[in-house]
């Protein structure tokens, strides 16, 4: 995880607007790496050369992670230190040289922000940059907690309920995703153990749940999977379910459930239970990619390489659909349409993972639980 101070302040403002204050006990680890407007500018410059990075969101994630590898990482502890202006100023100077080597003037590069993702803001001069970060610093200082590990240790060794939510997904994993549409971090439950310095043993988390969309899958980026919906279904699903990227607004590709890909994610993932979402999507029938064949008509598995997937042929089977409105009204499993239940049973069995939840709508109550 990386942390953009400007976006964090925007998020805090959103929350305060909605509930009047920052609820709960919001804490920021001093060790969290910073992802700054400078990282976004550097990423934009690399993107402009089209030498890679196609999969990026323009939020400076990969360039922040590259700073870690280059041992140039800045963390929240740097931002709260007395020497923060010197440290961030040095970082600004390095980025200025990097972007300048590509013929770009750092001051003039526009970067997206959470508040204004389309128009964005200019990075500005070093003074502008430091002033902007400095304003955020004032707001964020009170949330930085140097004793977070003690808090975590105490709570984990009590009966306090813990809910962990990993962002991203196994299909975006840096090793198991389809390049270049991959993220930079460990997306599986095992990342929890790494990031808590071993306090939380991920193997001891009582229920590790994988979440997937049921009647279709969505994908943002340049990857191309073998199976596809007809264009009318794709547009319909995109509009009804708002399938546009949260960060970038890019249209998500809408694809049939791809069983070989989902099996791969199951094989390399850490989940032991399943939550299937979007069961209120209505189709007369549900095409699924049941398997792949190579050019010799041999059954082959999913592998996360575009050169490989370009030459496999999808074996598509249609399963009976169901009425999404009926699914949405269901309060118990036995009220779900029969074909929705059969579909859930199929997904659970084909991936060899027990079903825990199925969601039937966007509200908090719109779900069926298989947990006692």
């Amino acid at each position: 995880m990386v942390f953009n101070p400007t976006d964090a302040v925007t998020e805090i403002d959103y929350i305060v607007d909605i509930v009047g204050s920052v609820p709960g006990n919001f804490m920021i680890d001093p060790n969290i790496p910073l992802s700054l407007d400078t990282h976004r500018a550097w990423e934009n410059v690399i993107n402009s050369w089209h030498l890679g990075y196609y999969g990026s969101t323009g939020r400076g994630i990969s360039t922040s992670y590259s700073d870690e590898i280059l041992r140039l990482k800045l963390t929240m502890s740097d931002l709260i230190s007395a020497e923060w202006k010197g440290k961030l100023g040095y970082h600004y100077d390095i980025t200025k040289k990097q972007t300048g080597s590509f013929g770009f003037k750092l001051e003039d590069i526009k970067v997206a922000t959470l508040k204004d993702p389309v128009k964005g803001i200019k990075v500005g001069s070093k003074k502008d940059f430091l002033d902007r970060v400095g304003e955020c610093r004032k707001i964020l200082l009170k949330y930085v907690n140097k004793s977070l590990d003690e808090y975590l240790y105490k709570e984990w060794n009590s009966e306090t309920p813990f809910v962990f939510e990993g962002a991203q997904a196994i299909g975006l994993h840096p090793k198991h995703g389809l390049y270049p549409d991959v993220t930079s971090s460990e997306v599986r439950a095992r990342g929890i153990q790494d990031s808590t310095e071993g306090i939380v043993d991920y193997k001891k988390i009582a229920a590790k749940v994988g979440v997937l969309k049921g009647p279709y899958i969505s994908s943002v980026g340049s990857r191309t999977l073998p199976g596809e919906f007809d264009i009318r279904t794709e547009i319909q699903v995109r509009n009804v379910f708002g399938e546009y990227g949260k960060s970038t607004g890019r249209s998500r590709g809408i694809l049939p459930p791809d069983i070989p890909a989902l099996k791969h994610f199951r094989n390399v993932g850490d989940f032991e239970y399943l939550a299937v979402t979007h069961m209120d999507a209505s189709f007369p029938s549900i095409p699924i990619v049941a398997g792949y064949k190579d050019s010799n008509k041999n059954n082959v598995r999913y592998r996360p390489y575009q050169w490989y997937l370009d030459f496999v042929h999808p074996e598509i089977i249609s399963l009976p659909g169901w009425d999404g409105n009926t699914a949405r009204k269901a309060k118990n499993a036995n009220e779900l349409p029969e074909n929705a239940l059969r579909f859930l049973a199929f997904i659970s069995e084909v991936l060899n993972v027990k079903l825990a939840y199925a969601s039937t709508g966007p509200s908090l109550q719109d779900y069926i639980s298989w947990v006692k």
Binding site: N4, I61, V163, K208, G210, K246, L341, R342, W370
Partner: protein, 104 residues
């Protein structure tokens, strides 16, 4: 492929015991309380697709379930993310912890 078709043939046949599937609930809470293998009252969610699966809302439902059951603070921790993931999960019901070490 053959294995997938076998599963489809079985599940979509009239003989398939759908009632058993409906009633076959997961018993993870009681079994955990009697086990030294797992830490009670803990759950994690990870994306099993290409992202945007609805993890945030699913996690929020788990937070609500825990809160309604225990009537106490829930520690909610999101990992690997940047804004604006999971905004709706910041509620009065949980400690909202935004931390992750070493950029993992």
């Amino acid at each position: 492929m053959t294995e997938v078709i076998k599963i489809i043939d079985n599940i979509y046949s009239p003989q398939y015991d759908l009632l058993s599937f409906v009633e076959n609930k997961i018993d993870f809470s009681p079994s955990i309380l009697n086990s030294t293998e797992s830490r009670p009252n803990s759950i994690s969610f990870e994306g099993a697709g290409f992202g945007d699966e609805g993890k945030g809302l699913t996690a929020l439902r788990a937070i609500s379930e825990y809160y309604n059951k225990h009537k106490k603070t829930v520690v909610y921790r999101r990992t690997n993310c940047t804004a604006p993931a999971s905004d709706r999960n910041i509620t009065r019901r949980c400690n909202f912890n935004c931390w992750q070490r070493n950029g993992i």
